[in-house]
Symmetry: C2
Subunit: 217 residues, 2 copies
């Protein structure tokens, strides 16, 4: 394993950059899906993936046949990108209009989580996406574990960017300026067709918004 | 300009693949932010960006100094990834649990939109993100146009994936299974501090959810 490639310097809006691990963790823990970019034969590959932060590493999982995961598992350098859109920023010109967001890109090389640690790593991912669900269903079967690859990316080299607050400038021009907040809406659970009417919606579903902490705006 | 690199074959869940331009357009028109991946010195770069579809091309814009945009503008091959998370899919095992989503990755090479077309291209992007706002504010100034780069990516080589509906299988196990729908929540507009109390929230903000078509779950 060679050392991870350095994160590129941020050349645009340096005032939006954050450098702390706490900033990174806050962004990573606020989203459910990230985009894994890698390089194969000189060409970019990118795939959206569910993920979870597990302490000082980021975990993704997938089928052993997926292209970008295979390249990443083989040691290709990766960049994992997460963005949370918090609002639209209406300025008094289109040029100054913007978005409020929190974003992170983690650079490095992934490694395959060893078989002995795979079940626990999968539990971590599931527990992030569906808190409490693990306790409601059966455990992993060995053939399921065998069909899954879990990759880990150390949280060492990263760029975090945050924009928040009102539009830039302060120009009373008579035009309304401000922010339209955006967030995640959680709908009503829909039972699968074969679930009997007297089977209650479980706690992991009922409390998703509160436990996951990303509902609302 | 060389021909665009081919889109990689989809090796995982081929039943989720869609091949039509209408499928692609539906995904691209459902999101506000995509992730632009490219390659610089053999390493992956990725950056989240607001974007808009403009007929048969995808438009992004940014400062002339941004790294990934600069590499893309210089002709590096790109992959642009968009994902819309529609719900969490609770199966009777963690292994079969999934997400409902619509995703698209467009492969190719970008070109810089010529200066003469730049104002209109920026209007297209803004009109997608904030429908109606263009008519409420002043037009672009020439120094603003000069500080902005707009890149276009032809919609020729792409992969679309969609998962929808209930969990796989049909196993009445006594465990609740189903889908928790997720979508975009639109909050209450927040006026900038310098906006007088009698300036009404404009139509572009009031009707955002309806005009943009991506609110709700």
């Amino acid at each position: 394993m060679t050392s991870p490639p350095p994160a590129p310097a941020l050349s645009r809006h340096p005032e939006r950059q954050r450098s702390g691990r706490a900033d990174l963790d806050e962004v990573l823990d606020s989203a459910l899906v990230g985009h894994l970019a890698t390089v194969l034969d000189g060409l970019p590959l990118v795939v959206p993936l569910g993920y979870a932060r597990d302490g000082d590493r980021l975990l993704v999982h997938g089928s052993t046949g997926a292209g970008a995961l295979r390249a990443a598992a083989a040691g290709s350098p990766v960049a994992f990108s997460v963005a949370v859109l918090d609002g639209l920023v209406y300025a008094d010109s289109l040029f100054s209009s913007s978005m409020n967001y929190r974003s992170a890109v983690v650079h490095g090389r992934m490694h395959v989580v060893p078989a002995a640690d795979r079940g626990r790593a999968l539990d971590v991912v599931t527990e992030r996406l569906m808190p409490g669900r693990r306790a409601e269903v059966r455990g992993h079967r060995s053939k399921e574990l065998a069909a899954t690859v879990v990759l880990a990316l150390p949280l060492e080299s990263f760029v975090v960017k945050v924009r928040s607050g009102p539009p830039g400038g302060e120009q009373p021009s008579g035009v309304w300026c401000g922010v339209l907040p955006l967030g995640t809406a959680v709908g009503e659970p829909r039972s699968a067709p074969w679930v009997a009417g007297d089977v209650p919606v479980p706690r992991s579903v009922e409390e998703w918004g509160r436990l996951r902490g990303s509902a609302g705006s």
